[in-house]
Symmetry: C2
Subunit: 193 residues, 2 copies
């Protein structure tokens, strides 16, 4: 499974391609950071990001796109820019027919470092080690994009199992409700005592 | 000037087309609200919004797109969804070659009601009056989209004058700096006393 991890942002948008193989084996295929000038119009910056993501999808042919889920603990302006960029990335992926998954920063950190509260240096160090890279990916947005892709490779089987379990539970509930309804109908057909 | 006003949102995205004429005369051409099911994937919802805005641009041929600038006083989840939807609308507009302008909710309210703190009912009432509509646009997102378009029609000339004044000021600063530099060079050529 080839995963395009995206750490969305207007000023720097990290892109990382990772291939997940049998077990927990993962391999980095490409990494880059798209930069757009803060003085440009927001719409033009979003278009530049969309163009870059489209080019990456065409070149690297991912099976799925994993995007960082935005939280608002950061400052307001950057959250809004991040959400705008993330929305554009999700749109481009959807239009390319690719499934999009969102992972929170703490899910990503926990996946690669074991702690949901790891700092940037720790994430970069672990991404470098897990993917056996010669040099640590820079800037942090590049490392974060790879971490997101690795996180998706490792969480995807669990997410699939959970979805299957939920579907099974819903089916059991449906069958049970049908049995109760049938029992009720039978009871109504019995003569009152 | 034909303005497409957009009140972005994942659940309800208001679209309003307004034609600005000489003076403050404005006319409503179309209004609609795009709805996407909350249970759908975010990427699919964004794609539905993008499709609708593209269809509107193709049908109504606006000269400019005015989008509500997101603020974070509201609740976190809705701000992020709103920013994602707004980003997608800005992208679609940029790719259609249209300029995109953002106006804050208080700029919009002030433009149509005279007060930046007007409530939704007041905005709807004034939009109905200004555009001489037979019935108030419903839901509020539809009225807000029309209000945004009206706001842009009325603010655009002032924004253009301000941009021209800023460009003029920058040019004067440049000329002055060049004169100072030239005077410096002349001074250095004079014999020291």
């Amino acid at each position: 499974m080839r995963v395009l991890g995206v750490d969305p942002g207007l000023t720097r948008c990290g892109l990382g391609m990772v291939e997940g193989r049998a077990g927990r084996e993962v391999r980095a295929l490409a990494v880059d950071v798209v930069r757009t000038p803060p003085d440009d119009e927001v719409a033009a910056r979003l278009a530049a990001i969309a163009d870059a993501v489209e080019a990456w999808i065409a070149e690297h042919r991912p099976d799925v796109v994993a995007v960082e889920r935005v939280f608002s603990q950061h400052n307001v302006r950057s959250v809004i820019g991040t959400a705008q960029a993330g929305g554009v990335v999700a749109l481009v992926a959807a239009r390319a027919g690719l499934p999009v998954f969102f992972h929170t920063p703490s899910e990503v950190k926990a996946a690669v470092t074991g702690s949901g509260r790891a700092d940037k240096a720790q994430v970069t160090a672990m991404v470098t080690r897990i993917l056996a890279l010669d040099t640590p990916p820079r800037p942090a947005d590049a490392a974060d994009a790879l971490a997101l892709a690795v996180c998706h490779c490792w969480r995807a089987p669990m997410m699939a199992r959970m979805a299957a379990a939920e579907a099974r539970a819903a089916e059991l509930t449906r069958v049970h409700a049908a049995k109760v309804a049938a029992a009720g109908r039978t009871a109504r057909r019995l003569p009152r005592v």
